[in-house]
Symmetry: D2
Subunit: 151 residues, 4 copies
């Protein structure tokens, strides 16, 4: 399998991500689903619903954060050993444009992976009328919990 970020993944790693994601009650509750799973790169989509809004009718930054955090977390997870799990240490998000549109897509991408800590870049795009606009940009630190299987 490719060692390049964005490259293809072995089926069992894809399955491990899907199974873990399926256990995140919040993702289902927000209507979010996995859109892409690659080596060190995961995308999550979340269609618009009134249940996801802030006071002006745009997507609430909390929902944006939720899919950005999960996208980054699973991007890191694809690089971790089989018997480990992932923990978010911290993340930072700049909200650079109003999050309005038919759906959001969060992309998490590993920028530096280490034995204990992994750093991801986070991007969230809004899709409206076939256009994609960057609405959030972030950075995240993950911790690999060795010998603590995710399931």
């Amino acid at each position: 399998m490719s060692r390049e970020i964005g490259g293809p993944l072995a089926d069992d790693i894809v399955r491990r991500v899907e199974e873990s994601f399926a256990r995140q009650g919040l993702m289902a509750h927000l209507g979010a689903s996995l859109a892409d799973i690659r080596h060190g790169l995961v995308s999550i989509r979340m269609p618009y619903r009134p249940e996801l809004t802030q006071q002006h009718g745009f997507f609430h930054a909390g929902g944006t954060s939720a899919i950005a955090d999960s996208a980054g977390g699973y991007a890191g997870f694809t690089l971790f050993p089989q018997d480990s799990s992932v923990l978010t240490v911290e993340f930072k998000l700049n909200l650079v444009n109003p999050a309005r549109g038919d759906a959001l897509e969060a992309v998490g991408r590993v920028a530096k992976s280490g034995r204990t800590l992994t750093v991801c870049q986070l991007e969230v795009f809004a899709e409206a009328d076939g256009e994609r606009t960057l609405v959030a940009l972030g950075q995240q630190t993950l911790m690999c919990m060795h010998s603590r299987a995710d399931a």
Copy 2:
């Protein structure tokens, strides 16, 4: 009215926060509610539900972020002029303990208020068996949108 952070607020400002919060579809969807509204300090509570979890059954960082972001945003909003609205520029959150318990409570507190930008400190506590544990610690930058009423 007190100019001290945490001091009492005029009724119309409290009402303005409550009305704006009620329009945040995400807060209702997450089961979150306003717990305290003071001058430059707002708390939001969110009881545990399986719909709020990450893969290990704890509160998902996305939900934690959502109430932390709203708590900080409304803390800033209490200091803004009447005809303005609030925008989150960015925030950063460290997840310092597993977010497990019967409920989370997010506290946003203004650390520095300016004409255009306001900085808040964010704390999120988990309540379990009558104990309160700090689970997240953050910092947030808000922007006051002058002459753009919130409603």
Copy 3:
């Protein structure tokens, strides 16, 4: 002139950056100099000196931050109107590898520019034995101070 990030700049804008940089006493004190000035993208180099170290002999994160902050600040400044100045609102830096080598190079790049606020991505590389290693990755929020000339 190109509107693309990394594109060429008019001479007077280059001069404006150089003159402002020359007034930053800290840059001279750290031995840092401008390496590249483009539309929305500025690089700053800082050769190794014992006066720049932390306790283990590597570059101190404070020096790394200093050139990263200036690189991002001037990257934003290249996009600002002539009679304005630049202010750093906040920045966040992950230190992803030991900062050892013959020199550091910080690259600031505008990711989103707005009338009031601009967001930059920050990268710092260490150069050692002809190799370039990413040592820091960051994100920065700038404010454009309109009608407040820099000089």
Copy 4:
């Protein structure tokens, strides 16, 4: 010895901080010195010099960051085992007021200490005409490198 943040420290820990600080070439180069060393809380002072300025004559955010990073790092270090050293994973700093005055003082304070990771809050004050103004507010993640003595 007290387990409370801000409490007194054993002499050998104070000495360990002082010796490590003395090896930070950058601190001497910036004219910074240790002002206070307590359990989980360290302060560093840096008097004004033209060599520390940004383009408008105030303290450059890079110097502010340098002393904030060291103050937080050593605050964490006071809680670490004897044969360990400290690494900054990341930090975030909001620059909330112009950093002008006769001196800056950075205060790092442990907010959460763990076996591997420690989170600190960072404050930097400017002193001018006997007044103290908050100029920067931050948050920092540290890593304890076990069995890797600092010296």
